[in-house]
Symmetry: C2
Subunit: 140 residues, 2 copies
């Protein structure tokens, strides 16, 4: 199913702004912010407003084309939904990020399914804590 078909089937409309936002997310390497996306879109369509970017990210997320992740308490990060899944560990001491491989995520997800019949999205928010380096150097 093409983008146009999926959008029409959902009752949404295919606007230039929407296409440009999707393009920007798909071209991006990793985890871009809404402002990153807005900047890319403005290169081709300078009049776009911030709320249009946010609303289109939300619409494209509903359609399953993009997703967002929270790496820190501040800015939401966006990426294409078909990129390989992984979680994030963020150190509250040094700020360093580590990717969590899907098997570890799956093992944790299984436990939550068993105990709570809850289907978790463990990639949605980073897990904060203390990384190996900061843990090995407790002083300082």
């Amino acid at each position: 199913m093409t983008l146009a078909d999926a959008i029409h089937a959902s009752g949404k409309r295919l606007t230039l702004q929407r296409q440009l936002v999707l393009d920007a997310v798909q071209r991006a390497r990793h985890h871009v912010t809404a402002e990153d996306i807005a900047r890319r879109v403005r290169a081709k369509y300078p009049r776009i407003g911030p709320s249009t970017v946010y609303r289109n990210l939300e619409a494209l997320e509903e359609l399953g084309y993009v997703t967002h992740t929270h790496l820190d308490d501040r800015v939401t990060r966006w990426h294409r939904a078909d990129s390989h899944p992984h979680g994030h560990l963020v150190c509250r001491s040094c700020g360093g990020e580590t990717e969590v491989r899907p098997p570890a995520l799956e093992a944790m997800a299984r436990r939550l399914r068993e105990l709570y019949r809850f289907e978790p999205d463990l990639a949605h928010s980073a897990i904060v804590g203390i990384c190996r380096r900061c843990r090995d150097v407790p002083s300082q």
Copy 2:
């Protein structure tokens, strides 16, 4: 060690605003917002500004008296640091919250320690996903 001692030892100062913020958090039942706290403080000290509340919550968190949690993407929730630890599952469909018991948290934490030597704080951010009720009713 009393509050005054802990504060002085850290080079911080014991202001009326700081005491009132701590009081408000300690009196609160569960997971209060900064605005909840500000409202309580204003009852005794109306001139307090929002940034003073935020800065004192941060200072009291450094001292180990309070902590914060993210239940949704919006508002940060605060509570006393000595309350019983637990995680949160939040359903992205119905918004319902479930508490995760410490044993389940500990089992997941152990895995992250083994695989990544990362000491996680699994209570810091809620885990989003689909709850048992919304999962059992896939239509609608």
